[in-house]
């Protein structure tokens, strides 16, 4: 702890970034007396204007925008876009033109639209470029004889919109078709509801004013024809889903709705044919329309969030560099064959499982295994798809690709987990079951009562009761609450893929957190320093000469703008061990304990501390100057700054927290203890399958009726199966493609800070849904009392139903679920209201 304290102040000084533009401030301009530093006079003036006007939130907001739009490298050749496999998968030929949809990164606004749609003027042979601004998808049409897709892609990348193929063309086409059908059904239901209401108005007017019986019959028959169409076409969804619910004996809100629609519809058809008696066609057709509209908006909003997540994961590279003779060629991953040789540059992720043919590098396997320390690989070692090559170029002989790779197998576990996951019995569905029972009991009571009082009108009154007790306020307002909450959450960087999440997260339960990349930053950073501070500059200078990840981390975290530049004359780097150099006239040796002790005298104190740190799971780096060890640095996976406060708040609210990591047990224990976990809550060394088993075991131990749910938070491929199996899987910023596909919620801000905000929002949304239930119940019991008394006629039903729906709707729209604007601190109590 003492070592960490000495570290704190130089690191803060090291980040002498301009307050306004975030660039590094030149050493000469730093004013040690001030808190804020500026790189130039212009920035200082701009800052003082913004500051004096009290608009400092600008900087906060800007920070978030930066987080959301990282600019990926644009040095790709995109030659893989011309490959036959790519063409077969992603393009289609229409006449002389070829068409293809590409996801574009970095599309924000109207100016992007203008620029991208002017592309045909820049690229000869490109005929049309149409952008879908919200989804960031451009639809291109070009003449293949004039221009290649790779050239169009390069042009797009050069103007700042790196393209990627939209992954799954078939399923997207299927989804679009389903969307269109839904919209058509909604339109039909709306038109029918409007027309039937007009007829009903004429009929109600006829109650008070004499109406020609032939006209009355005509209006009744017209209403009947239209309503029957509404019930068998758009309204069929309610009957289908309640039939499924009855067959599987699960409660569902659609059962009482279908009961009301069915009873009202059938009885009205009967009375129309009979020629006398009440009809409820107007109420029934309006119900169908209103309920469909609520569901339509909900599915649209959830689709939008799911699209955003999909966009994120389609941005992961999908090409490989195949060695063909003396040259390399970019090809899509799909066209790789076992036996091919691929080149993997430093910084690229591996496209396949295979064996290293030549090269010597470090590989970051943290997304696959949770292991935070990079692994050294050399000729003959096995490497896995989805891991990241960090230090040097590798040539890899392909062994397996696609489904049979380790990642592919894990993806299959994800698919299984998603299928096996039993749907959560939603609050509205539970209420729906009680509604059904209540409605049937009251209807039986009414029927019995009136069979005794007035047998001629008994069925009439019972049907009136069934129609008027339909829980439409609940059925309409619940989707609207979820729609609004999901939309607002998405604007604040929390992408919710399913409505059930809101209910599951509204009460504290059990949470299993991944360590690497979730609680920690996932990369190497300086976590401790012991010894002579004056050699920091020396170490920084020496390590700056190397590209090794350890050297890079040290150089980054020891940057000190105040220090005078140090001249490094000769360096000798031994991969995996350390570096030896002459800096400022002194002989400096930096490296592992074994390396430094062969070249210099290591004091007993330093050797002891190094061994102790190694045992704790952090990597000790010794520094020796002129033959004697003088300082000790430790590199580890640093804990995220907001993690402790967030976890403490979660504990206070009653969440039970556990860490599950693929990293070594001692590393997990060390990180866990700094975050307030007890020893038995820190589980290390877990394979993806073990994580999955842990989640399933913990889930089984929770009583489903208690409302306590199992939440899994993670980012890696190794978490994906567990994310899919948990009641709610939350993937955090920077996660692997597999985890994005498996999760229910994706947090686009780094770290777990926004979890609290997510939980608050879900809690408030559930509160609003419950309030809707009371509004609904109030109207329904009032109406039921009138119906049992036999005083209800279709006119009263037609007035009561919309009022109840509208009032529930008004309550929902006015409610605060997720805060409506960005960038309030999640830990700021003011953001909770």
């Amino acid at each position: 702890m003492a070592a960490e304290a000495t570290l704190a102040s130089p690191v803060r000084r090291a980040k002498a970034l301009c307050r306004h533009c975030n660039l590094v401030v030149p050493p000469g301009l730093i004013d040690p007396a001030r808190d804020d530093q500026f790189c130039c006079h212009g920035c200082e003036t701009a800052y003082s204007i913004i500051h004096t006007c009290g608009l400092e939130r600008y900087y906060e907001l800007r920070q978030q925008l930066d987080d959301r739009a990282p600019a990926p490298g644009t040095d790709r050749t995109y030659n893989d876009f011309d490959d036959d496999t790519f063409r077969r998968l992603h393009t289609r030929q229409i006449g002389p033109l070829t068409r293809c949809e590409l996801f574009l990164h970095g599309v924000h606004c109207s100016a992007c639209l203008w620029l991208i749609e002017r592309l045909p003027r820049m690229v000869k042979g490109l005929v049309e470029a149409r952008l879908d601004l919200r989804r960031g998808i451009v639809d291109l049409a070009w003449d293949d004889r004039v221009v290649k897709l790779s050239q169009i892609a390069r042009t797009l990348a050069s103007i700042g919109y790196p393209p990627q193929p939209a992954r799954d063309r078939k399923s997207r086409a299927h989804r679009v078709a389903e969307d269109r059908r839904q919209l058509t059904r909604l339109a039909a239901a709306g038109a029918i509801a409007g027309n039937v209401m007009l007829f009903a108005l004429a009929l109600y007017a006829g109650i008070f004013d004499a109406m020609d019986p032939s006209h009355r019959t005509m209006f009744r028959w017209m209403s009947m024809v239209l309503t029957v169409i509404a019930l068998v076409w758009p309204g069929a969804v309610f009957f289908k889903s309640s039939w499924v619910a009855i067959r599987t004996r699960t409660p569902h809100i659609d059962v009482p709705i279908a009961l009301a629609l069915g009873a009202g519809g059938l009885w009205s058809v009967f009375t129309t044919i009979k020629g006398s008696g009440e009809i409820y066609f107007d109420t029934v057709s309006v119900l169908v329309f209103a309920l469909l509209a609520g569901r339509f908006f909900q599915s649209r909003q959830q689709r939008a969030s799911a699209d955003d997540v999909e966009l994120l994961f389609s941005l992961t590279p999908s090409s490989a560099r195949r060695v063909e003779g003396d040259a390399t060629r970019d090809v899509p991953i799909e066209s790789l064959q076992p036996g091919d040789l691929v080149q993997v540059l430093a910084g690229d992720s591996l496209p396949c499982d295979g064996e290293v043919d030549s090269g010597d590098s470090l590989v970051d396997e943290s997304l696959l295994s949770g292991e935070s320390r990079p692994v050294r690989v050399t000729t003959g070692d096995r490497v896995a798809a989805g891991t990241l090559n960090i230090s040097a170029e590798l040539f890899v002989r392909v062994q397996t690709v696609g489904e049979s790779t380790r990642v592919g197998q894990l993806m299959r576990l994800v698919a299984d987990g998603t299928q096996r996951k039993a749907p959560i019995v939603r609050f509205a569905d539970v209420v729906g079951a009680w509604f059904t029972l209540g409605m049937l009991a009251l209807a039986a009571l009414t029927l019995g009562l009136w069979l005794w009082l007035d047998p001629l009108h008994a069925v009439d009154h019972a049907v009136a009761l069934l129609v008027v007790t339909c829980p439409c306020a609940l059925g309409l307002a619940t989707p609207i609450v979820i729609t609004i909450a999901t939309g607002r959450a998405a604007r604040r960087g929390m992408l919710i893929k399913g409505g059930d999440v809101i209910q599951s997260l509204s009460k504290p339960g059990v949470m299993i957190l991944d360590k690497t990349g979730t609680l920690t930053t996932g990369g190497l950073s300086l976590v401790a320093w012991h010894g002579d501070d004056s050699v920091r500059a020396l170490v920084h200078a020496v390590e700056s000469t190397s590209t090794h990840p350890v050297a890079k981390a040290l150089a980054r975290d020891l940057t000190d703008p105040h220090a005078a530049p140090v001249r490094v004359t000769s360096t000798n780097q031994i991969l995996g061990r350390g570096i030896e150099a002459v800096a400022a006239g002194q002989r400096v040796v930096i490296g592992s304990l074994s390396f430094v002790s062969t070249l210099a005298r290591v004091t007993l104190e330093h050797a002891d501390l190094a061994r102790r740190w190694a045992a704790e799971g952090i990597t000790p780096i010794l520094v020796a100057v002129d033959g004697v060890s003088v300082a000790l640095a430790a590199l580890g996976d640093g804990v995220r700054p907001e993690a402790r406060a967030t976890l403490d708040e979660l504990r206070r609210r009653g969440w039970q927290l556990h860490i599950a990591s693929g990293d070594h047990q001692d590393v997990v224990t060390r990180v866990g203890s700094t975050l307030g976990f007890t020893l038995e809550d820190c589980l290390g060394g877990l394979s993806p399958e073990a994580k999955l088993a842990l989640v399933e075991r913990s889930k089984a131990s929770l009583d489903p009726r208690s409302g306590r749910r199992l939440v899994m938070v993670g980012d890696g491929v190794n978490d994906a199966a567990a994310l899919a199996a948990a009641d709610v899987g939350i993937a955090v910023h920077g996660g692997a493609e597999a985890s994005l596909a498996a999760c229910d919620v994706y947090l686009s801000r780094p770290g777990i800070g926004s979890i609290l905000e997510l939980f608050d929002g879900c809690g408030r949304s559930m509160h609003v849904i419950r309030r809707n239930l009371w509004v609904s119940l109030f109207y329904n019991t009032t109406a039921a009392a009138i119906a049992v008394a036999g005083l209800l006629n279709p006119l009263i039903a037609a007035i009561v139903m919309p009022i109840s729906s509208l009032s529930a709707l008004a309550v929902s729209l006015k409610s605060r679920t997720f805060a409506d604007h960005r960038s309030q601190s999640v830990l700021d109590p003011g953001s909770r209201s």
């Binding site: 109207s110 639209l113 203008w114 749609e117 952008l131 879908d132 601004l133 919200r134 989804r135 679009v176 969307d179 269109r180 919209l183 058509t184 339109a187 039909a188 038109a191 409007g194 027309n195 007829f199 020609d212 006209h215 005509m218 209006f219 017209m222 239209l226």
Partner: protein, 45 residues
């Protein structure tokens, strides 16, 4: 008042025409993207 027997079904037929037109528009993808055209028209030269 027997004119109602012609006018009312006619009105319903007109409404059906509207629904069919909407279905055609939805099927040809005219509602797939409702945000971009609003922006695009600002740039037409």
């Amino acid at each position: 008042m027997s004119v109602l027997f012609i006018v009312v079904p006619l009105a319903v037929l007109l409404a059906a025409g509207g629904v069919l037109a909407f279905a055609w528009a939805a099927r040809t993808g005219q509602f797939d993207d409702v945000d971009t055209p609003a922006e695009r028209m600002l740039h037409d030269e």
